[in-house]
């Protein structure tokens, strides 16, 4: 198979010692990273044309390379933009180029701010998404599910399975992820039972999520796909908004995704996974501390006022301590639930949503989209109505089942 060519625009990757990791991540998804060939004499001209007067020569080089890609002087299938974490000058360039390239070309962009601890594994899902968008554009254009297919989403907290038949969801299964294969088997059995179908009736299977490779192999899946493209597809499909722009937000158990989607295909996206305080895990802990089921946390939060509870930290440990202190000081469980939802939404808003262009409709998906207090808090921060489509908790499984129908024989 022809390798997908990813243009690297970066500052500091080599001196951070992570260039090897970037190569490895690309290699593992059948892509190759290259540096657009630029004449030194063209660098200052390009910087002047772009209008962002930066001091660092490597940032100037990034700008010149971006212009060469946009102007078609250098051909690529996708773009990886990487700069050092905590560098303000680089962050400005990274942000502007991430916006500039998709607006002025058909190239998809993924960006990342690295430290010396960044590994190929951290970059893998992003590279895989970039490669998929370049390689499988035709597959991603699919807007209708056909035949009988199954999608399985092996997430860090829960495993979801969906059986679809003739563009309808006919069976679902949902189990906590314990042993990856066992959890997938349980979810699949439930989905098949609800659909009234047997394993042999399934014409194609798609898998996604952290355990996608393992369960994909176990189930003999036709499609094994990272969750960025699958969730984008699933979100616009379930929301009935397959054409035009949309923003997909998925606050997961281990990482969060914010994806700017155009016609169901990711344009720019961010994936955060460093802090548990910005994840569904924090809400699980809050529910446990309040003695309510996670399903009750959302309605409870809707009755409370988050502002009544002082939250001094985004950290899952200290944040939980703030909630405990608030309860001890007499705050109501409803106020505490609302404060927890606001804290997670605010952290995602501040750290991730700044990196994608928010375009309406904003679609929230994944298990946490069922926590209405969280959806409300996000809507307040974004000053827009957030759409939660039906079956949003099955987003990865639905996206996988939808895309898997492209692999049915004769399709």
């Amino acid at each position: 198979m022809k390798k997908v060519r990813i243009a690297q625009l970066s500052c500091g990757a080599e001196y951070s010692g992570v260039q090897k990791e970037i190569y490895e991540a690309a290699e593992s998804v059948g892509a190759e990273v290259f540096f657009p060939d630029i004449a030194l004499a063209d660098v200052e001209r390009a910087v002047k044309k772009f209008g962002l007067d930066v001091k660092s020569a490597d940032l100037k080089l990034m700008i010149a390379r971006a212009l060469a890609l946009v102007e078609g002087k250098v051909e690529a299938d996708g773009v990886f933009i990487g700069t050092c974490f905590r560098c303000a000058e680089a962050a400005i360039v990274r942000n502007e180029l991430r916006r500039y390239i998709p607006e002025n070309s058909k190239l998809s962009v993924v960006s990342y701010s690295f430290t010396e601890r960044t590994t190929a594994g951290t970059l893998l899902t992003r590279m895989e998404a970039l490669t998929t968008i370049a390689r499988r554009r035709a597959l991603l254009a699919r807007e209708e599910q056909t035949g009988i297919t199954m999608g399985v989403d092996s997430g860090s907290s829960t495993t979801k399975a969906v059986v679809m038949k003739d563009n309808e969801i006919v069976g679902t299964g949902w189990h906590p992820t314990t042993e990856v294969i066992k959890s997938a088997e349980s979810a699949v059995s439930d989905a098949l039972e609800m659909a009234g179908l047997a394993r042999e009736d399934i014409q194609a299977i798609g898998t996604t999520g952290y355990g996608r490779f393992l369960i994909g192999k176990h189930l003999g899946a036709e499609l094994i796909q990272e969750e960025l493209t699958v969730n984008s597809k699933g979100a616009v499909y379930l929301a009935g908004h397959q054409r035009g722009a949309a923003t997909v937000i998925d606050i997961g158990g281990m990482d969060n995704k914010a994806i700017s989607v155009i016609d169901g295909i990711p344009g720019t996206f961010t994936m955060g996974g460093i802090c548990a305080g910005a994840s569904g895990r924090f809400l699980e802990m809050t529910a446990k501390r309040l003695g309510v089921d996670i399903t009750e946390l959302g309605p409870l939060a809707m009755k409370g006022m988050g502002k009544n509870v002082p939250m001094n930290s985004y950290c899952i440990v200290f944040g939980t301590q703030s909630l405990v202190n608030a309860l001890a000081a007499g705050s109501s469980p409803a106020d505490v639930a609302a404060a927890a939802c606001h804290s997670v939404a605010e952290q995602v808003f501040e750290q991730q949503l700044q990196e994608v262009d928010i375009k309406e409709p904003v679609i929230m998906v994944g298990g946490t989209s069922l926590i209405e207090g969280l959806v409300y808090a996000m809507g307040q921060l974004l000053q827009t109505e957030v759409v939660v489509p039906p079956n949003s908790q099955y987003i990865g499984a639905v996206g996988s089942a939808l895309l898997a129908s492209g692999f049915i024989k004769g399709e």
Partner: protein, 150 residues
């Protein structure tokens, strides 16, 4: 013979000038190419590992970006070793340049703090300035211990 740190560290012209006057240039030994086909303008010739940014903690705190610390792991020991330095500011990219402006600030600060003799010059923009530039470099180098004629 004195050990002379050159800035920009990638300047082959400065490196050559220092060597011609009998001193040892301390720099990156990297030429800036007409076409850039590597990740950065001053891409290192050897693979830098994640260990370098950690070694760079000797010169910059942990909140300083990893790329700065990785560079300081290379240039920090050279600055410690240097007995003199020549700094050329506002240089044309082709003369020699460093990829990261923040590292530049730290390198120049470290040099100025070290107390070694330093010659600071602006990059010449015409022939007359060029002649004065070379003359100033020559005079500075000749004044260093065991400096010789070119």
């Amino acid at each position: 013979m004195a050990k002379v740190f050159i800035y920009p560290a990638t300047s082959l012209i400065l490196s050559d000038l220092v060597a011609r006057f009998g001193h040892k240039p301390l720099g990156a030994a990297l030429g800036i190419r007409e076409r850039i086909q590597t990740a950065g303008v001053d891409s290192p010739p050897l693979q830098i590992t994640p260990e370098e940014p950690k070694r760079g903690l000797k010169y910059a705190a942990v909140e300083v970006p990893s790329g700065v610390r990785g560079r300081m792991a290379i240039y920090g020991p050279l600055i410690e070793e240097a007995e003199a330095a020549i700094i050329v500011t506002e240089a044309d990219l082709a003369f020699g340049c460093m990829g990261c402006a923040r590292t530049d600030e730290l390198i120049l600060f470290s040099l100025r703090q070290s107390g070694i003799p330093i010659l600071e010059l602006e990059y010449p923009t015409n022939e007359e300035e060029g002649i004065r530039f070379v003359a100033a470099v020559k005079k500075f180098l000749a004044g260093l211990p065991d400096g010789g004629e070119a």
